[in-house]
């Protein structure tokens, strides 16, 4: 019995030391990974890493279900953030189709809880909450849509590099005055869980490449 104790104690100590060393190494590696230069691990043509991450300013917007939407809604999750309008003939449907595919791929990868997708309409004059809801759910049941007054929209969008302007439909001579196009930024922004823009997905959007870049940044 005593012999066993004598033989067992050093083994226990050795095992303990090994565990401590392993823990130290893993913590060290984790710190190293945090400090890794993202531009080195992400294809910059797919996701341009912003040199100076830009905090998303708070603004008073409203979700399609009537709940308030602001900076707080971007906290705690990674967000794919896109600005457009529901009557957008081609670009927005293309980008939302890509986002829906990204969502499908992430769900298939089992990456469920830590991300969301947000569509902000820059055309509040025509995009009612009902219209917003119908539009985004056509693409994916989980996309969140929001909009607000033009001044509030600009407060949120301008500092993060998103712009838009109304344009006449090319032959809208006799068209009703509410038919117009909105020229707008086509990039999808990647916002970190502290509501900061860390990357920009420029067009064209390839869903598989987008997911790969997302996983490289978030290490999920």
């Amino acid at each position: 019995m005593k012999m066993r104790m004598k033989g067992g104690a050093p083994v226990a100590v050795a095992v303990f030391l090994v565990l401590i060393v392993a823990l130290a190494i893993s913590v060290y590696l984790k710190i190293q990974r945090v400090n890794v230069d993202l531009t080195q691990v992400v294809d910059q043509s797919v996701l341009r890493i912003v040199p100076q991450p830009i905090p998303v300013p708070d603004a008073k917007l409203t979700r399609m279900d009537g709940k308030p939407f602001g900076k707080k809604a971007l906290e705690g999750k990674w967000t794919f953030l896109y600005f457009g309008y529901t009557l957008c003939p081609d670009v927005c449907p293309t980008e939302l189709t890509a986002l829906a595919e990204v969502a499908d791929l992430l769900r298939r990868e089992g990456v469920q809880s830590r991300w969301q997708q947000v569509f902000v309409s820059v055309d509040p004059e025509r995009d009612t909450p009902e219209q917003l809801g119908r539009f985004v759910s056509y693409f994916d049941p989980q996309i969140i849509a929001a909009t607000g007054e033009q001044t509030e929209l600009r407060i949120m969008a301008q500092p993060i590099g998103v712009g838009w302007e109304k344009a006449a439909l090319p032959t809208a001579n006799d068209a009703p005055s509410n038919s117009y196009l909105v020229n707008h930024t086509t990039s999808i922004l990647l916002v970190s869980p502290d509501a900061t823009v860390v990357g920009v997905y420029p067009t064209p959007h390839n869903p598989e490449a987008m997911v790969k870049a997302y996983l490289a940044v978030t290490r999920e």
């Binding site: 003939p89 670009v91 890509a98 838009w164 038919s179 020229n183 930024t185 067009t203």
Partner: protein, 153 residues
Amino acid sequence: MRNILNAAALALFLPLAAQAEVKVVEPWIPEAPPNAQAMGAFMVLENDEDREVRVVNAHAPGFDTIELHKSVEEKGMHKMLKQDALVIPAMGSLELKPGSYHVMLIGVQEPRPKAGDVIPVRLDLEGGTSITVQVPVRKRADMMKRMQQMQGH
């Protein structure tokens, strides 16, 4: 049997061959989300002639106005520009695709086109001839996946 197949194949290609000038490859119209004010028609136009062919006008039932457009991106901002003509270069082709040239179908009338419908789109060529293309409406996601596969992604 083989003759019948050949005849069938011939019959399939005859309408295009008879219209000579322009061959249309993989036409499609993406199904639009609810309340869309416009839709786009996409296709590849191939020209075997040794002179350029210009599409100067287009028509399709079920829309208020039809125009020839090009989507462009300037400084990350998307815009659409009206085109007087879509020019298919001699012995070349012109690709109508999202984010580029397209036939813009403005003012979608009821009943709204759904995936599975086929819309006859008539393209008027400079010089007075025209071709009618039977363009299927497809789910955008299906077609985008297919295009990515074709690009080898």
